[in-house]
């Protein structure tokens, strides 16, 4: 096996044609080193789930190449699938089955012979041994999520794909899941490709992060490498009346000015030097709101995409929406 568990070269995935052509992935190139937790950070519709679908062989590649665990995704799909685990955004288990029966079915699908010991170990690791013979329809969301990760680990995969594993979870369950992901990575030494649109999640869990938007990888590196890209503070400003952009741009220390109506994003060397100059230029009663952000993944995202992660289109994936609704109902 190569040092990179996942290698993606100039990969594109298109849906539709002509005027309705959607470039879900647009010439993506990525290398994911073995044994890392790699995060794909981007808004809904950025192409994160499509990339997972392509890498797991669920959908075809339009152009380009991809390999997982040393096997070509296009031509050796079955070899790839024998070496990957998958944790869905929405928990997908057979509710008519017990936890042990779900593991049994997973073992059958993976053609595993000696799976019972491994299953017992996993049930123990995830503190589910006492509930192994209970129907999973009676499980809490956290327990269901744990079982889903156990299923993904049963056949000792090389890679686990986690597609927005914490979407719609409450804060405490999300934190619990972060601990589990970290624990699984340490205990089983598996490479994890995790997609998320939560910046704090990517920052907390991932060794490396790629920022993806509109099907393209815009930046990639360790969290600290990405943060060091932004050698500036971001001043967010909302004014009560229109200002002259040239006047702001002319202030010393200003690197970039973006305006949308009366909302301003001003990139400056250091906010400590800039703010006194700003207050000397405009009247304080013109300012409705002002904030300063130091370099963070949030500001990296803002820099590479030109918008905040929350400023996105409504959720396109209907099933994810329903998954959130189900969890919200408890």
């Amino acid at each position: 096996m190569t040092d990179n568990t996942i290698v993606v070269k100039d990969l594109s995935k298109h849906y539709g044609s002509g005027d309705r052509l959607v470039r879900a992935l647009d010439h993506v190139t990525l290398s994911i080193p073995s044994g890392t937790v790699f995060g794909l950070l981007g808004p809904n519709g950025a192409g994160k789930t499509t990339l997972i679908k392509v890498l797991t062989g669920i959908t075809d590649i339009t152009e380009g190449d991809a390999s997982v665990a040393g096997f070509d995704v296009r031509t050796q799909s079955m070899d790839v699938r024998a070496r990957i685990g998958w944790v869905a955004a929405e928990v997908i288990l057979d509710d008519d089955f017990t936890a042990r029966e779900n593991l049994w079915l997973q073992a059958k699908l993976q053609s595993l012979k000696d799976w019972e010991t491994r299953a017992d170990d996993l049930l123990k690791f995830f503190s589910l041994s006492d509930r192994a013979d209970d129907k999973v329809s009676h499980f809490s969301t956290g327990m269901r999520k744990k079982l889903e990760i156990a299923l993904a680990l049963l056949h000792q995969p090389v890679v686990i794909f986690m597609d927005e594993p914490t979407i719609g979870l409450d804060v405490s369950t999300r934190r619990m899941l972060w601990d589990i992901v970290t624990g699984v990575h340490k205990e089983f030494g598996v490479t994890v490709l995790l997609t998320t649109h939560y910046i704090e999640e990517a920052d907390a869990l991932c060794d490396r992060i790629a920022i993806i938007d509109q099907g393209r990888i815009l930046a990639e590196g360790t969290p600290s490498e990405l943060k060091s890209r932004v050698k500036a503070d971001i001043v967010q400003l909302e004014t009560g009346e229109a200002l002259d952009p040239a006047k702001i741009s002319a202030l010393p220390g200003v690197q970039e000015v973006r305006a949308q109506g009366n909302d301003w994003m001003i990139r400056v060397g250091t906010a400590d030097d800039f703010l006194p100059r700003l207050f000397a230029t405009i009247r304080t009663d013109q300012i409705r709101r002002i904030s300063v952000e130091k370099p963070s993944l949030e500001t990296v995202f803002l820099e590479v995409t030109g918008r905040r992660l929350g400023q996105e289109e409504p959720m396109r994936d209907v099933r994810k929406f329903y998954a959130q609704m189900r969890r919200a109902r408890g």
Binding site: T56, G57, I58, T59, M78, D79, R81, A82, I84, W86, A88, E90, I92, D94, D96, F97, E101, W104, L105, Q106, A107, K108, L109, Q110, S111, L112, R319
Partner: protein, 258 residues
């Protein structure tokens, strides 16, 4: 080619376990043909025995009807099979299956066999119900086995047909619409409910190639003690094999994952 026994068994067992753990589906599967027997079977109960004998070759219409009702009920198990597939697509379970080294063809075969087996659950219940309605059985072991095999082949054929038609669908309503579309013509243009000797020529033509006719006539010959045309079993095997092959091909290429 290596046969993937492990996923075949796993997914087939899942279909069976889910059936027996879902009392409502099980109840409907059993009650539906029972109601046919009770209501439709009783519609000629006041007819004098000689007339029944002349019309149906039996002194009890239910004795004539039972093989036909069992045959037509194999149509509805196909609908349940494709509904179960759509449920797996909509709840993401199909994706969970296909992210393992399990092919779409294996999924199709287990759905077809699982649904067909589920349909056969009706057989002992209907036999018991017919006994309660005064029908007597004088079948040899070979005749019982051949009757069950014929129904199984018919069910596999129809389940495969439904699964092939709905391979790309994720709409709950599609199996019902397809069922409504094909059930009526196939049921009435067959010898399931009445003999075809009084059919117009065009209906006789359809009936003579309708697999429901083959299954009904096979079972009826055992029930009425008339000579058996064993080629019906061969036709049913061809029907099942053909539909299974078409369904396998269609599903392998076009089965939607979600």
């Amino acid at each position: 080619m290596k046969i993937p026994w492990s996923p075949l068994w796993g997914l087939y067992a899942r279909e069976m376990i889910r059936t027996f753990r879902n009392p409502f589906v099980l109840l409907i599967t059993i009650v539906q043909p029972f109601m046919w027997l009770a209501f439709f079977g009783s519609s000629f109960s006041l007819l004098p025995a000689p007339e029944l004998q002349s019309l149906f070759g039996a002194s009890n219409y239910i004795q004539f009807l039972l093989p036909g009702v069992l045959s037509t009920s194999m149509l509805s198990v196909g609908m349940f099979g494709s509904m179960s597939t759509i449920q797996d697509k909509r709840f993401g379970f199909m994706k969970r299956i296909l992210i393992t080294p399990t092919s779409k063809g294996v999924v199709f075969i287990t759905k077809a066999l699982g649904s067909a087996s589920r349909g056969l659950v009706q057989f002992p219940v209907m036999i018991a119900a017919a006994l309660a309605f005064g029908v007597s059985f004088h079948l040899s072991v070979l005749q019982w086995a051949a009757w069950i095999a014929g129904l199984m082949l018919l069910a596999i054929g129809f389940c495969s047909l439904f699964l092939a038609i709905t391979a790309r669908s994720t709409d709950w309503q599609t199996p019902g619409v397809v069922s409504n579309f094909i059930t009526m013509p196939l049921m009435f243009a067959s010898s399931a409910l009445f003999g075809s000797s009084h059919f117009p020529a065009w209906m006789s033509a359809i009936s003579s190639v309708n697999p429901i006719t083959f299954s009904a006539l096979l079972g009826r010959s055992f029930m009425l003690g008339t000579p058996t045309d064993w080629s019906y079993l061969g036709y049913l095997a061809i029907f099942a094999g053909l539909m299974l092959s078409i369904g396998y091909f269609v599903s392998s290429r076009w089965l939607r994952v979600e």
